[in-house]
Symmetry: C2
Subunit: 179 residues, 2 copies
């Protein structure tokens, strides 16, 4: 089992990436504080061909050396927009006929493994602040809440890891044919 | 959709966590450099009730303030062992009748979504160094290589994110009934 070399990985250039068909998922960052986490989500969004990132509120935006440290250039390939409030980002997505999902632990959540994605539909997934999660007012604006089940002592995961797990769910069902 | 409060999350204590049935997966860290990444994998392992972590080679071990920063206490709940070489860790797992999987991009890899996990079997998953990935000699010792398909400009993901995606694959098939 020989490791693939750089050519065998079929990496695409930035222009080619932008022209590629995308996983129909917009990742919305509701006031994510850590630049490491923002950069890491850019990197995963690049890997899974995510439509775009919407950076909202206190989120830092590229260009930023701190974002670059974990994005490693993915902030150049992945489309992104900034909104001063997450409510504005959701309104912008609503106008584009997007199903608004939120990644949170709420009373009426759908567990990730049970969340069925539909071909032809456009989705957004909102992830939240490292300590406070997604703001309740933002949760209230969403169509559905998706929860990653957990059985541990913390009942909380790093936002970049949980966003990665959820992006994988969408990519493996809607985008993988492009890979 | 009201956010769950701290009591509704059903967090378990450390002793209760240790007594709980586990996801039959050992995560093996082959010379992972970043203490942030090690801590983050502890946190995800806690969330998904992973059997244990094996820290190998240059991996730092708890107690460590840097690991704690991202593990947030999960280094107290999740069982871990240190081996000076990954080869020793794999030999230890072999004696325990474990199927050795490696998370790498190799020529004969099985794509994650196609990797079928079997009830009743004990698994290990090896993840590698931030730049060099899993060492080829370690890859050679494994029974199977699992690859996360990617379509981006980097063709590489953060090790804590990719380990999280892969742990989710095992947890959602073998461990979720405990959650």
């Amino acid at each position: 089992m020989e490791k693939k070399n750089i050519w065998e990985l079929n990496r695409v250039g930035v222009e080619e990436f932008r022209a590629q068909e995308k996983t129909p998922l917009t990742l919305v960052l509701d006031n994510v504080r850590s630049l490491n986490n923002i950069g890491s989500m850019f990197r995963t969004a690049d890997a899974f061909g995510i439509r775009r990132l919407l950076l909202c509120g206190i989120c830092a935006v590229p260009p930023s050396p701190e974002i670059h440290k974990t994005a490693l250039g993915a902030e150049e390939s992945v489309e992104w927009l900034y909104f001063s409030t997450t409510a504005q980002a959701l309104a912008w997505l609503r106008e584009r006929n997007t199903t608004l999902c939120c990644l949170e632990q709420v009373k009426e959540s759908v567990m990730l493994q049970d969340f069925e994605v539909e071909q032809g539909r456009e989705y957004a997934l909102v992830v939240g602040h490292e300590v406070d999660g997604v703001d309740q007012a933002v949760v209230d604006e969403c169509d559905v809440c998706i929860e990653i089940p957990q059985c541990g002592t913390k009942h909380s995961m790093n936002v970049a890891v949980s966003a990665g797990v959820a992006m994988w769910h969408f990519f493996s069902r809607l985008g993988i044919s492009n890979s």
